[in-house]
């Protein structure tokens, strides 16, 4: 899909290796596991918690031009839904190609209803989504 998924924590790459080899639920992992032990990259994205030395659960989508297009952060104790991450990624790919359109909340994949913002859509979002 022309994308690189990188998971990042403040653990080192050596701990990533050990975790990958021990945790059964990581058996099929194929993405790069990034190490940010000094918190530099976590700070850049505003997810580093100084007192804890840990990164919050932040997800960031950056296009090939280097522009930040999506960001979502939740606290330590609430996990993310990977389907929602992929939905946002696919939506970003879609609107990068179809620049006049926008993907509403219910958009899941290619072929689902999109919106085309403009004078005709003002006050008519419901009609556009249900017609």
């Amino acid at each position: 899909m022309g994308a690189e998924l990188i998971t990042v924590s403040t653990d080192t790459q050596f701990v990533h290796l050990a975790w990958k080899q021990h945790e059964k639920s990581l058996e099929n992992v194929e993405y790069l596991m990034g190490a940010d032990p000094n918190g530099k990259v976590s700070r850049l994205f505003g997810v580093y918690v100084e007192g804890a030395g840990l990164a919050l659960r932040g997800t960031f989508i950056i296009n090939p031009e280097g522009t930040l297009l999506s960001s979502e952060v939740s606290f330590f104790n609430v996990g993310r839904n990977i389907d929602e991450v992929m939905r946002k990624f696919k939506a970003n790919l879609y609107v990068a190609r179809k620049t006049a359109e926008a993907c509403p909340a219910q958009w899941k994949d290619e072929g689902d209803k999109t919106l085309t913002p403009g004078p005709n859509l003002v006050g008519k979002v419901h009609e556009a989504l249900t017609k």
Binding site: T7, L44, F45, R80
Partner: protein, 58 residues
Amino acid sequence: MTDSTNGGGLQLGASVPDFELATYDPTKNDFGTVSLDQNKKAGKWTILFFYPADFTFV
């Protein structure tokens, strides 16, 4: 939340400064590095997925 996140982070639509990370690549079972510039040059999107710690849930 004064002890919370540091550095404010980046605004959506902003150009992300280059960064580099040491990596473990499970497909090659090898260490390496990855950088934003490298991905940009390859025409790739970059998805960063931060989490607090290995050996916990993600």
